[in-house]
């Protein structure tokens, strides 16, 4: 199993391409928008050149006329005044449905209640590469704001024309255009009535500055919260179609095992059961999940297995199988100066190796899909962070054009980077095609723990030199397999060599919240702490001495202040730790207090303070929620989560064997928001997780004198 899905979004051909005609009053090409959505006003928001390639994964074709061609999102104001927004981004618990609603409400000057977001439906929404990398806030949010701002200006134009007046005296507010002098007002719905007006815009319309926001910047409650607390919200695994069958897939007994012989005759003889044996795929569809499971047990297979690596030898395996030659240079180009000279100039030198285990995302909703074929066209409802990517997977699997595939992505039971692939969708679609009826296929928890993909394990070797006064003179950092996210040091070090080394992964691996930034911050911030202690310096002062970046300094100081950094320990087993960093445009500093029980040696995280700077804050309460959640999720990987595997088997593929953070693990979490209204907003779902593990490790050292360099650090308590 070496399939690597990390950071490998599929490249798509151009779609929704507009003819390079005059930019206004265009037709939406293949789609007759107004026929589908009704009359009114449509604003299509175009990606600018450059951003288009980056965000859509599409390479521009030929012409270099400098005109934007790619639609990022569109917005429709119906004749009833309802506002519908179409975006390929999806809601996976990170609150994008609400934060994007706020963006449109802000610029359009309407109540969030009149806005409906259509998200991640590949027939209705513009192409989007996927919801990952904390990109929704820095890219989709401003694009929707531009579209809404353009719509507002268009409505003002229409009102000015209706009243035969100067548009400059008109204002838009609360869903209507007003003339303060004459005290006239006209509702958007009246202006949209009878219209079929389409406009494409790029980055021209000015956006409201954060200091003037009235909807953004406010803690707007989750727009669909009521549906969730009443159990009404339909998740992907809740989709039910008429005449729907339930599917199950026959899984190999171990990774790498292949069938030598398969006998499906008994299963096929069961009334109502469809059996599919196609290449490596063996599955059944039956009227109920129980019937499908029973049918599966009637399939006789002889397997041939091949030896597979085990977690006991994991780190040797990763080092041994690294690609030969020098590693890839860090993309931020931090290989500077001469590490050898820097080490020579140092008063103290330190070498240490850090490791991180494979861990599972374990989203509470396992992968699920419902697939339906109608006349050669395939419709799939599934939980994924990449609906368009899944559409591509389906088109490829069934050798049909992508416009014969529609993927719906109902807001799902989370992903954390773990649902980029369309495995369940492909399986459901294969069975549905054979059965001639819709098929639902939902993975069990064991399947999710075994056949999804994992956060990469890794080995990180750090070698450093410092002067007696605390100046770092040399920094060498080699990461094997975890990845290069967050690999660069934010500290000012004249001599650095930072490399990522690709290697063979014994397990299928892929994205995880914050990617490798968690591993790289753990190694870096643990090592920084080791250096500070070697010099008998305060770990915070040591960091600040080597740090110029004002935003990172600010979060360090804010977290330390709130935490009361520097106070004396008052309890036995108590320890304090600090760590911080920069990733995906966000700056984070985390302070942790731990308590290590002197007899059981169990670690309890008592209190965490996180200071976070992600530019101008869009929704303070939901941002706090994300930061709290990132810290809680981080506790698992920091202290006890690890996938154990042996010769092709996952040994702990259940919640009874794989410990995730529970109520009793959750510390008091306090959040300090920097809210830089002068800076653009960036994403916040990922970066806050990176400070937790090193802050906790450093606190454990403070409490016990034990330096723990392997994640998870204390699955069975801190050893003496």
């Amino acid at each position: 199993m070496n399939r690597d899905v990390m950071d490998s979004p599929s490249r798509e051909p151009e779609r929704y391409e507009l003819d390079s005609q005059p930019m206004y009053h265009f037709e939406l090409g293949r789609r007759d928008f107004f026929r589908v959505f009704g009359g009114g006003i449509v604003i299509a928001c175009l990606l600018e050149k450059g951003l288009a390639v980056q965000e859509s994964g599409r390479n521009r074709r030929g012409s270099d006329e400098g005109l934007p061609q790619d639609i990022a999102a569109w917005l429709h104001i119906g004749e009833d005044g309802g506002v519908t927004v179409y975006t390929g981004k999806v809601e996976v618990g990170q609150n994008s449905r609400t934060s994007l609603t706020q963006a449109v409400a802000e610029e359009l000057r309407v109540s969030p209640a009149v806005i409906r977001m259509v998200m991640g439906d590949t027939d209705l929404t513009p192409f989007d590469m996927g919801t990952f990398g904390s990109r929704t806030t820095p890219t989709m949010n401003p694009q929707l704001r531009k579209a809404a701002s353009a719509a507002r200006n268009l409505l003002i134009d229409l009102a000015a024309r209706t009243w035969q007046t100067d548009r400059g005296r008109l204002i838009a507010k609360d869903g209507e255009v007003r003339d303060p002098e004459t005290r006239r007002a006209i509702a958007y719905r009246a202006l949209a009535k009878g219209q079929k007006l389409a406009r494409a815009i790029s980055a021209v319309d000015p956006l409201s500055p954060a200091a003037q926001w009235t909807v953004m910047g406010k803690s707007v409650p989750k727009v669909d919260g009521k549906d969730i607390v009443t159990g009404k919200h339909i998740y992907p695994s809740d989709i039910k179609l008429s005449k729907m069958l339930h599917g199950k897939v026959l899984r190999p007994p171990s990774f790498g095992a292949t069938p030598v012989s398969i006998d499906t005759r008994t299963a096929e003889a069961i009334p109502g059961v469809t059996v599919v044996h196609d290449g490596n795929f063996v599955g059944v569809a039956a009227p109920s999940e129980q019937a499908a499971l029973r049918a599966l047990t009637e399939i006789r297979v002889e397997w041939k297995s091949v030896p597979q690596p085990s977690s006991k030898e994991l780190f040797e395996y990763l080092k041994k199988n690294a690609e030969p030659g020098e590693g890839q240079q860090d993309r931020r180009g931090q290989t500077t100066g001469s590490v050898e000279n820097g080490l020579g100039a140092a008063d103290q030198r330190l070498q240490a190796t850090y490791t991180v285990a494979y861990i599972a995302h374990a989203p509470l909703e396992p992968r699920a899909a419902v697939a339906q074929w109608e006349g050669g066209k395939l419709t799939v409802w599934t939980g994924t962070q990449r609906p368009f990517g899944v559409r591509g997977e389906l088109a490829e699997a069934f050798r049909i054009p992508e416009d014969h595939v529609r993927v719906h992505m109902p807001d799902m039971g989370s992903g954390y980077g773990g649902k980029h692939t369309g495995d369940a969708a492909v399986e459901a679609a294969r069975l549905a095609r054979a059965a001639g009826r819709p098929v639902r296929l939902a993975w069990t928890r064991e399947e999710e723990f075994t056949w999804a993909y994992f956060r990469p394990a890794g080995v990180i070797e750090v070698s450093s030199g410092v002067k007696r006064d605390g100046t770092i003179t040399a920094w060498e950092f080699h990461n094997y397999n975890s990845g290069s996210a967050g690999i660069g040091s934010p500290y000012d070090i004249p001599n650095q060599r930072i490399e990522f080394h690709a290697t063979q992964s014994p397990l299928r691996q892929g994205s995880y919240r914050a990617l490798a930034a968690t591993a790289n911050h753990f190694a870096r911030e643990s090592h920084m702490d080791e250096l500070a202690h070697a010099l008998q310096m305060n770990p915070l002062e040591f960091r600040l001495k080597n740090l110029k970046d004002s935003r990172l300094r600010a979060v360090y100081e804010a977290a330390a202040h709130k935490f009361g950094w520097g106070k004396a320990k008052s309890l036995p087993g108590q320890g304090f730790g600090i760590a911080g960093g920069f990733e995906k445009g966000g700056y984070v500093a985390t302070c942790a207090e731990v308590s290590v029980d002197p007899s059981s040696r169990q670690v309890r995280i008592v209190r965490v303070v996180t200071a976070f700077d992600c530019g101008a804050v869009i929704n303070p309460d939901q941002l706090r929620n994300q930061i709290e959640g990132a810290n809680v999720m981080g506790i698992g990987g920091a202290l006890f989560e690890a996938i154990e595997f042996e010769n092709g088997h996952i040994l702990n593929a259940r919640f009874s064997h794989y410990r995730v953070p529970r109520f009793s693990d959750a510390p008091l979490i306090e959040v300090v928001l920097m809210d830089r209204k002068d800076l653009p907003s960036v994403g916040a779902g990922e970066t806050p997780i990176v400070g937790l593990a090193p802050a906790v490790g450093n606190a454990i050292f403070d409490a016990t004198g034990n330096r723990l360099r392997s994640l998870p650090m204390a699955p069975n308590g801190v050893k003496m």
Binding site: V92, G93, Q94, N95, S219, P221, K222, G225, K226, I228, V229, T230, G231, K232, H233, I234, Y235, S237, D238, K240, S288, E289, Q290, A362, P363, L364, E365, P366, D411, M412, G413, S414, Y416, A442, T444, R445, D621, Q622, N625, Q626, E628, G629, A630, N631, V632, M633, R654, F655, S656, V660, P661, R662, F663, S664, A666, L668, I669
Partner: protein, 159 residues
């Protein structure tokens, strides 16, 4: 054992015809269309499938429907009455005690059972009672706050 032919859920009697060995969760979701109760683990470890059986919180994924056929089942869909949210539901909204919401039904049903027996739970009481429910998004601190808020609401306006 003969098939189970009726089930009382949320005060309604549903005619069904199912194998007594299958899980209550499968019956609720696949036969009655009550999808508010979720599958999360199938081994009673995560709490996403929690329902009340005669008022007590139970894991419907490991409860065979044959064992509870004569009892009263309450699911998340049965907690709000006449369009009025249960105080726990109200408090979850006010505190913002959810992210993806997949665990929320089980959390709310479990918490409603706690507050039925204890209207003044301390933090440790809540942690102990809720320990079997997993929120992977990590909103535990908020859920605790929401349960305490709901307790206050219920004390002020006894239902």
């Amino acid at each position: 054992m003969s098939n189970v032919t009726s089930l009382s859920v949320n005060g309604m009697r549903y005619p069904i015809d199912v194998d007594p060995e299958i899980s209550l969760l499968a019956v609720l979701r696949d036969h009655l269309g009550l999808t508010g109760s979720k599958y999360g683990c199938g081994e009673g470890q995560c709490g996403a499938c929690t329902v009340l059986i005669d008022g007590y919180p139970r894991r419907s994924c490991i409860t065979k429907v044959g064992t509870i056929a004569a009892k009263q089942v309450t699911t998340i869909e049965g907690l709000h009455k006449d369009g009025r949210l249960h105080p726990v539901q109200q408090a979850f909204l006010e505190i913002g005690a959810l992210q993806c919401g997949y665990c929320t039904s089980g959390m709310i049903v479990t918490a409603s059972a706690l507050l039925k027996s204890n209207l003044d739970p301390g933090e440790q009481d809540i942690v102990r009672f809720m320990e079997g429910n997993i929120c992977r998004c990590g909103t535990y601190q908020r859920i605790i706050a929401a349960i305490r808020m709901a307790a206050r609401m219920m004390k002020e306006v006894p239902s």
